[in-house]
Symmetry: C2
């Protein structure tokens, strides 16, 4: 297919990934965003965790996310090579842990389900867990999911921004943009195209200190869900609240519960500096799946990635670029078109 | 005494109050501070609480602070009249409360001591407490100290800044400044004059929401000390950690404990937005008392106010201005000169 103009509305990790993929295929692409990379991508922890994010009743989504995760190592290598950036891609794996008998009962149900999906869920005894992660509360029990990795979304955004042109303009209407338009505006996609995407607010804390875990750690601390994502530079992300509001504020109760859970799982974090409290709006959908596909002859959409935007960005970019090139949507994406009933139905 | 030049080093609430008092007495005063009002004054909650801040073994300090508090109503009225500013001076009083039997055992010892000091500590039964402050946890028990009030330190600083000239310069040496020099630089007084003042770091949270208590509330929630200071504009301050460090960071454990205690005492605060986490360095001294007096023929000092800077500012200003005018230090200040052994001894 001949190169032609592509306008991407939204400069988060989804829009920027699409733009880079289009540019790599020779298209003339422009991204529109008044403040690129400062939406949900700026808050996201960057867990590449299809196993940890697999939930009962979301089998098609899990299959998609597992394939998304398989693409990340090559994608990270290509992006790092193209820019020289360190993307914080880490493959130590994820510990799924709990503290109380109730926590572990809940986790065991998840581990059974994750194993049914074919995930490599490695049981560890207490000594094995402590050996891998000495900072864990000695009462913690859990498993290692070696295939659940992490990347630093802020670094990914910074790298992608070097590779694609961004016009720092707010798009108020999708008409009047050049060539094929790709709507990748997260929660703003609701107003721009009437899509059923709603903001699901989340607060993430960034701690800084000496004692930093080696693995991503997620699970429950006395019933409070939490994940800890350690960066190599001494930062530890603590996430995340899930709140049906969009006022941009972290709540006192939400921050309290994250800090309690984090310091219950890794007590030394209590001495860390609370360096940042950030709040983002995840673009949520009725079935928690993304909305990717065609809305019109020259209008495509890639939004609604909810908790999975970072994980799904590379494969989303490939799927959208395939559509632009006149190819069919990859099969795993078929359940997630805007034509499905939970995404508003056929147009 | 004839008007003469006065140079005040430090533009926090202490330095600005001294400068205004000197200006009112006709002296030609200049304040030096690169960032006036942005030190401990910017973080302070502004409790005017000599009863709540009275501790065993600090009898002379308590006597001084009780007199400091008596001066605030007239001072606030004069400052408001001079500037037209609302200073957030509120006189609803302070509830001292606890949740557990241990909390109340600790508080009862304090209340006995406070009554010995002559304080009006009004016992309330559970219904009486809930009637006065319906937002309190129904398990809370406590007393009303009607004489412990509050003011908004940021508003006081803003008002004082309209009344005195500030040169936004950092003073590196006390020599070369005009006329009588008053050192009121908080923790920086240690390096400028070798005074035994150490930073005692404190984090204060600012919450915003609909349900706001009427009274200042302080006490213990399952052993965690906390105070809540409600402003008329919907802000609720939650303070404060007391940490022997000076890195400028709130710790994860400190913020966690403040949020737990605050939401334990007033459960509805859990829904409030966490609007600000600020950290300040209180100028602490060996005996927790301020250091006010003469260091040399043309050098006075007013520092080391620790947790009491806002409360003590008006009376400190009077004491320092009296010295400048050749009068003796008011009697209640005599135990707090730089010549006392715990402040480094005679010079």
């Amino acid at each position: 297919m001949a190169p032609h103009p592509v306008s991407v509305v939204g400069g988060g990790i989804i829009g920027l990934s699409i733009a880079w993929e289009c540019a790599r295929r020779g298209h003339d692409v422009t991204v529109y965003d008044p403040d690129p990379g400062r939406g949900a991508s700026h808050v996201a922890a960057g867990m590449l965790a299809p196993v940890g994010e697999s939930y009962f009743g979301e089998r098609e989504l899990t299959e998609l996310l597992l394939e998304c995760a398989r693409r990340w190592p090559a994608y990270a290598a290509e992006l790092a090579a193209a820019t020289g950036h360190d993307l914080g891609h880490r493959t130590e794996g994820t510990l799924q842990v709990g503290l109380t008998a109730d926590d572990l009962a809940e986790l065991r149900r998840l581990w059974t389900y994750q194993r049914e999906l074919g995930a490599d869920v490695l049981a560890l005894d207490g000594d094995g867990l402590r050996e891998r992660e000495p900072l864990l509360n000695p009462r913690a029990r859990g498993v290692l999911v070696a295939s659940d990795h992490q990347v630093d979304p802020r670094r990914v955004v910074a790298a992608l921004r070097e590779l694609v042109p961004v016009r720092r303009e707010a798009v108020r209407s999708l008409s009047g943009l050049d060539g094929t338009v790709v709507l990748a505006a997260g929660c703003a996609s609701a107003t721009l195209a009437g899509l059923p995407v709603r903001p699901v607010q989340g607060a993430v804390l960034r701690l800084r200190g000496q004692a930093v875990p080696r693995h991503v750690i997620r699970g429950y601390a006395d019933g409070r869900p939490v994940y800890l994502v350690p960066r190599r530079d001494g930062e530890v992300l603590v996430g995340a609240t899930v709140e049906e509001r969009a006022d941009g504020h972290a709540t006192a109760g939400g921050v309290r519960d994250l800090l309690r859970a984090a310091t219950d799982l890794v007590p030394e974090l209590a001495e860390h500096a609370l360096a940042e409290v950030s709040v983002g709006q995840r673009p949520g959908t009725a079935d928690n799946g993304p909305i990717v596909g065609r809305l019109g002859p020259d209008l495509l959409v890639a939004t609604g990635h909810y908790r999975h935007g970072v994980l799904a960005a590379p494969y989303t970019a490939q799927a959208v670029a395939d559509l632009i090139d006149g190819r069919p949507l990859p099969l795993l994406w078929e359940p997630f078109t805007p034509q499905r009933p939970t995404a508003g139905g056929a147009r």
